[in-house]
């Protein structure tokens, strides 16, 4: 067989395979998503294929499995998978061969490394699992890991316009430290969380400081003996008459509301025209985007210019809007509103937004490389070049992988419980319109214990875009 024939066969085969694999990550896992969104978690778990543990999306396999097992109450098994997801993040190294190949195919050829917030969420679920199993020392290990991850995040982005810190994770660290009676570290974590809510979260997400955080900050300042800070924060929050009371037992309740956004793809048409010197310019005037690429050979530049318009695809998030808007906990005649601590959906949008320029540059470089290769091949063999053009078009695909079983938002509250007695607690979920849904729980804590409970409501409104 001649080289040209072998190449033709290989390209045809490659085109066939990639055409079948042009679905988004969500579409490729429709059976899993169907079961999960309908609340059949055991079936969803069964739909997760074990072979994915070795795949390029293995981080998502570990994370999904860990999250589902946690919701199902199998905390030890959940933590085994979440630990794998954590270690994946620790040991992840760029494979430059795959990176290189991805420029001639698409970014799905690379191993999915996980978004910053996804790596933080792995440790959140892990820490909560340990707290539910009453293993506070193990939860503290996760707390220290979270601290390292937060520091890495701050170092990664030097621009103050980028999301460098995570208010909820600082709050969570405070909650964990407080549960182990380490009020000093809890105070530091709460104070850091306050700073992030008041600055980054207020500006980027229009979020306010949870009232529960204000109370916890004042309490831990008092219990640590920081009386100046105690008085200052009381005044700042308008809590002059507030006196901290140590409850005999308490419950920290996290409400995982809705579902995180799904990544899909969108395309932009770029006009290709010669630029100054040996460059080609990719321009989209309506979006005000111009990218310049050096192309050494004149024939290649001419070939690219002949294309005039080229479509490049990029990832985008589609929100799954919340069905339930608010929720309350009721016990012993008192009501405690669950307060928004993290809008995971907005954090995801922000993280993609702040690296969109990088995504554009990558996408365009990929397009340029593909087209230059196609032009070169056309010069030698028009038919082969045309076939490569088909393969290039078929393989043009955005990376639509993300952790889609995460909640849309996390709400929380802290409520006092009566120790060594059965405490009946009612959870009331309220949608924007219509009647609410109630759930009842019974807790019987020992004296001095802090219990942890997470509740997931998977209901979402129909998204504005199909994926």
């Amino acid at each position: 067989m001649t080289t040209a024939k072998s190449l033709r066969l290989a390209l045809s085969f490659f085109a066939l395979i990639t055409l079948q694999a042009c679905a988004t990550y969500y579409q490729q896992h429709l059976d899993f998503n169907y079961e999960f969104e309908h609340g059949d978690l055991q079936q969803a778990l069964n739909a997760l294929k074990g072979s994915e543990a070795e795949s390029k999306s293995r981080f998502l396999f570990f994370a999904n499995k860990g999250l589902l097992l946690s919701v199902l109450g199998d905390y030890e098994e959940s933590n085994a998978f979440l630990e794998k997801a954590f270690l994946f993040g620790e040991d992840y190294r760029v494979n430059y061969f795959n990176e290189g190949v991805s420029y001639f195919t698409n970014p799905n050829f690379t191993v999915y490394r996980g978004e910053d917030h996804e790596h933080l969420m792995v440790l959140y679920f892990k820490a909560i699992n340990y707290l539910k199993m009453n293993q506070p020392q193990d939860a503290l290990v996760e707390c220290r890991r979270l601290n390292i991850r937060l520091n890495q995040l701050t170092d990664k982005y030097s621009s103050p316009h980028k999301l460098q810190r995570d208010a909820f994770i600082h709050t969570l660290m405070g909650i964990i430290y407080q549960s182990t009676k380490d009020y000093n570290n809890a105070f530091i974590a709460y104070r850091n969380a306050l700073d992030v809510y008041e600055n980054e979260y207020a500006k980027m997400f229009h979020m306010s400081v949870p009232e529960q955080l204000q109370k916890d900050l004042v309490n831990t300042a008092y219990w640590t003996g920081f009386m100046d800070e105690f008085e200052n924060y009381k005044t700042k929050f308008g809590m002059q008459d507030y006196t901290p009371v140590q409850p005999d037992a308490e419950l920290v309740f996290f409400w995982h509301n809705g579902l995180a956004p799904v990544k899909t793809e969108w395309g932009i048409n770029f006009v290709i025209a010669p630029g100054p010197g040996n460059t080609m310019l990719f321009t989209n005037e309506s979006m005000g985007m111009v990218f310049s690429f050096p192309v050494e050979e004149e024939n290649d530049r001419r070939g690219l210019a002949a294309l005039q318009i080229y479509r490049v695809v990029f990832p985008r998030y589609v929100e799954r809007p919340l069905y339930f808007q608010t929720a309350n906990l009721e016990t012993n005649g008192a009501a405690y509103p669950l307060q928004l601590a993290e809008d995971v959906s907005k954090v995801a949008f922000q993280s993609l937004r702040q690296r969109m320029l990088q995504e554009f540059a990558k996408g365009l470089l990929r397009a340029a490389l593909k087209k230059v290769t196609e032009q070169s091949l056309r010069k030698k063999d028009e038919g082969l070049g045309a076939l490569l053009g088909v393969v290039n078009a078929a393989t043009e695909k955005a990376d639509t992988r993300n952790w889609q079983t995460l909640p849309h938002s996390i709400f929380y509250s802290r409520i006092p419980l009566v120790p060594d007695e059965k405490n009946e607690v009612k959870l009331k979920l309220l949608p924007g319109e219509g009647s609410g849904t109630d759930y009842s729980f019974t807790y019987q804590p020992q004296k001095g214990r802090t219990l942890f409970h997470t509740f997931s409501s998977l209901e979402s409104l129909a998204p504005s875009y199909s994926f």
Binding site: N95, Y96, N151, S158, N185, G225, F226, E296, D300, Q375
Partner: protein, 191 residues
Amino acid sequence: MKKPFAIILLATLFSCQQSVTRVAPDTQIDLSGRWNDSDSRLVADKMISELMASERFKEYAKEKGRKPAIVVGLIRNKTSEHIDADTYIKKLEVAIFNSNVAEVVESEEFRDKLRLERTQQQDFADPATVAQWGKEIGANLMLFGEMTSETDTSNKKRVVNYITTLYLTDIETGKRVWYGQQEIKKFVKNG
């Protein structure tokens, strides 16, 4: 056509691999500018030398007529970082123990464990070997401390000044017998 190919092929040759090297524990390695092991070592070294050279501490020991017993009390952290004070307090404890200038008695947490063990020995251990009640050495001095930090930032520059203060207080009189202080100022430039 050749150049982009060459760049990508070159990149594939240099795949990113992890390497681990063991270094001497006292090697100063600063990566992020946050509190690290070098800072803990600086604090411990300064505190140890100040305590050993303290005339007031020596006078106190002389007045007591025996080696004073020290218990570690509360070290408060008012910085914005989660710093484990044990990283330098334990070094200080070891230095005190080895220098023989004072006794170190267990902290509250470990005393509770010892008392539980002693309680159980009363019922289960050979009477000849049972640990007796009322033989604990009462501490004369309690070690307290505080860490504070001031941070000034502008664009990609940051100055942090950490102040660590330790003091020994006479449990009987409440009088402070010794002070040690270490300031560490860091200037961090990113990018």
